[in-house]
């Protein structure tokens, strides 16, 4: 296994997240009850998604500067992993919402905004799929990726806060930072963000390497 130290760290941190996340003490709050532990699983999906999207944006810029397809590989695969996390985030959020807010989907501004955000990234995949020239695909996708990120951040962080939302920290609701200000929750929450993000990065890097191997094989076949 290549660069195994951070992969061992990933497994260690995830073990800690699962053990600590299920067994360590949490505040006993009405309505939330034990579901407050979803902080370590649902909320961290979104943090992981955004961190991976940052990586994708950086490599999109790098690709535009260099036209080196190696950077395009990183951009697409980190976006893929981020989308996976986003879908998991929205599905887990719906389940959590059903039992705390009363409905899978309440048209909450943050729910709607994250759904729109995901659709923007689905469009990124469709856009890539519709172009066959690798250089052209890389450039158009890179520009789209940068713009999508620039729209995604205000969409999920700024706009829901300007109106009333069920999500903590929006409208008149107390922020989840009121909870994660709580030292005991933070003790698992921060390592959990790192753990899930690293897992996403691991999956992404494996797929990047598959892309590069595939390209090498294809090049070998076209130029014997």
């Amino acid at each position: 296994m290549r660069q195994s130290w951070w992969k061992i760290l990933t497994v260690g941190l995830l073990l800690y997240t699962l053990l600590g996340g299920f067994l360590m003490e949490v505040p006993r709050l009405p309505i939330l009850n034990e579901t407050i532990r979803a902080l370590y699983f649902h909320v961290t999906m979104w943090f992981g998604m955004i961190l991976m999207l940052v990586v994708a944006v950086i490599y999109s810029v790098k690709f535009l500067k260099s036209n080196d397809l190696k950077h395009d590989d990183v951009a697409i695969e980190f976006t893929n992993a981020a989308i996976l996390f986003g879908v998991l985030g929205i599905v887990t959020g719906m389940l959590w919402a059903k039992f705390t807010w009363g409905d899978y989907w309440s048209g909450d501004p943050k729910q709607n905004a994250s759904a729109i955000g995901l659709l923007m990234y689905f469009a990124y995949l469709v856009l890539r799929g519709s172009l066959s020239d690798t250089q052209q695909r890389g450039r158009i996708a890179a520009v789209y990726n940068i713009f999508a990120f620039a729209a995604f951040i205000p969409l999920i962080f700024v706009l829901p806060r300007l109106t009333d939302s069920l999500h903590p920290g929006n409208g008149g609701n107390p922020g989840f930072n009121a909870y994660d200000l709580d030292a005991k929750l933070r003790l698992v929450f921060y390592p959990a963000i790192l753990a899930w993000t690293l897992l996403g990065a691991w999956i992404a890097t494996v797929r990047i390497r598959i892309r590069r191997v595939t390209r090498a094989v294809e090049d070998n076949m076209t130029q014997p």
């Binding site: 709050l29 929750l185 598959i210």
Partner: protein
């Protein structure tokens, strides 16, 4: 320098505003009127659940490591050519 101090003061004032939010207190940890999985804990079944989750996690981890190694082998094969 003045600008930096101003920025820090502004940040502090933002933090002071955030204090108005409802904070979690130590009393929340012993609030027994809120239902939690106490029964599962007393019967020890929460540990069975954690065991199940850990088994799934072990399986997924093994699979990812396996895939990673497979790719490593392919990479070696390509570089030897």
């Amino acid at each position: 320098m003045k600008k930096i101090t101003l920025a820090i003061l502004l940040l502090l004032s933002v933090a002071a505003q955030a204090q108005e939010k409802i904070a979690v207190t130590t009393a929340d940890y012993s609030n027994s009127s809120v239902e939690m999985a106490d029964l599962m804990r007393s019967e020890g079944k929460i540990y069975i659940l954690v065991g199940i989750v850990l088994l799934i996690f072990a399986g997924l981890t093994a699979y990812v490591i396996h895939t990673d190694r497979k790719v490593s082998k392919l990479e070696k094969l390509i570089s030897e050519k």
